[in-house]
Subunit: 290 residues, 2 copies
């Protein structure tokens, strides 16, 4: 039985999503909590490989990156879920009880939570069925002012940024392109992506918020795209430079890759249920990036 | 020369506003930063009483309470401010430079900041000229779901709360009343207050947000008012109980005083400039609470 987990975290004190020995990661923290509740907690090193739940995730976020709409899947024994449901008949289904108990293990004001757990539709793969990911990037410039209560997820830039120029630069990058200039290269991996949305606005407090949506992102791509826009907003690059650098196709020092702090994975898009399996097959065949 | 400071903080790691020996407080942290920049940092214990800047604040918040719109005043030597302005002629006025340098001392991602510093109008007293204070209280109940990125300023209640009943109870408390039932008593201090606004709504994420505005608040009053509404929202008190308990005039265990975590001072209201001094005289004569 495959389940879908909707996950949120403050990435500040995690070394990213992916499990690493000896380091605190989102995947490791969640898998340990799930193992405890599902009763598959390994009792010896030898048992880890078979017994440990292994989450498959839509967006493998870097150290310090946050999420409000992360999605993962996990294959579980349906009898274990049914038994959880029988253990607390007034608390909802077995999956409701699983979510409640995982939240209990994570703790009341934890920096990661499981917002919901549901039965995954046939053919669902959190990573390969996904058709798009949406990120937000938040910047407090000198116009906005700094809010200590938002500091965990907002990068501060000590200058006044021109949001109209940033928005124009962002929109000029939309479309199907080779984003090699905005990617940290990986051997044998394509850097061609479809950037579906990219725009900037100021929120009610004046904070600059980028909305960035693509079929998929290569490594550090959002933070590079946002860095180029900040260079435009400071007047160090022209609006036209953003697309010209992209078309030059090579990594450049003309703009910085911004800090993880400001970046949050907001949402992952999936096709209608009947298209999930075929979408996963297509993605798997094309590349193994997210 | 009197200056007005607009202040924001994440109260999590402060033992409240008021300076205390050996404990980290907002007042202590800000006064130390101001002393450093103004050049009045005491060099010996004996110098503290005279040389240390002393902030007067609109709302003396408790341990763990946050602020986005706190206001304080400070009397400074105009020559020191003028000299700060001359030291960085391209950075604005002397007060602009003061604010920039205080922020520099506090650090880039500090949990307290000075959002702005301005010359106070004649007769301005941050505490005694204030005509109202507005607080917000945020609660994530089981309908809203828990967001780790908002955990510093949101209390979690593990139940589904009835927001319509809470809003009705809140509105029933508005007006000029003796709020002794909702105050921690202080010897010789009145508990009569004018509650100007009190209502509940759910924000875009479903989080319950109380808006509470009064001429002034006695100690722990907002957290008691909010606690009574949560008891109503859980169905443990009726809507009518909120005002009936108030009119009984005695502290009760019928509802809890909620945690500081969810509470933020949003805004302080002052009268038009020409009324500042007379307002301060009236308030000073009437009581010394805030």
């Amino acid at each position: 039985m495959r389940i879908r987990l909707d996950i949120a975290y403050d990435g500040t004190h995690f070394r990213g999503w992916a499990r690493q020995t000896e380091l605190r990661t989102v995947q490791g923290t969640l898998e340990d909590a799930l193992a405890l509740v599902l009763g598959t907690r390994p009792t010896a090193e030898a048992a880890v490989a078979t017994a440990q739940p292994r989450l498959v995730v839509a967006g493998r976020t870097d150290a310090g990156v946050h999420a409000t709409g992360q999605v993962a899947h996990l294959d579980v024994d349906p009898e274990v879920i049914a038994s959880l449901g029988r253990s607390r008949p007034r608390n909802g289904t077995g999956l409701d009880v699983l979510a409640q108990r995982v939240r209990g293990v994570l703790g009341k004001y934890a920096d990661v939570t499981v917002r919901g757990i549901s039965a995954a539709p046939d053919g669902f793969d959190a990573r390969f069925s996904a058709v798009w990911r949406r990120y937000a990037y938040r910047i407090a410039d000198s116009t906005a002012g700094y809010d200590p209560l938002e500091r965990a997820r907002t990068t501060t830039v000590n200058a006044r940024l021109d949001e109209a120029a940033m928005d124009a630069a962002a929109r000029s990058l939309i479309g199907l392109h080779d984003f090699a200039a905005y990617c940290r290269p990986r051997e044998g991996a394509t850097t061609i992506r479809t950037l579906l949305e990219f725009d900037w606005r100021r929120d009610a407090e004046g904070v600059l918020v980028a909305n960035v949506r693509a079929d998929a992102f290569c490594h550090s791509m959002v933070r590079a795209l946002v860095g180029a826009c900040v260079a435009v907003g400071r007047g160090r690059l022209s609006v036209e430079d953003a697309a010209a650098l992209r078309d030059a196709g090579e990594r450049t020092s003309a703009f910085p890759v911004l800090a993880a702090r400001g970046l949050t994975l907001m949402e992952v898009g999936y096709p209608a249920d009947e298209l999930l399996a075929s979408r996963a097959d297509v993605t798997r065949a094309r590349r193994d990036e997210d």
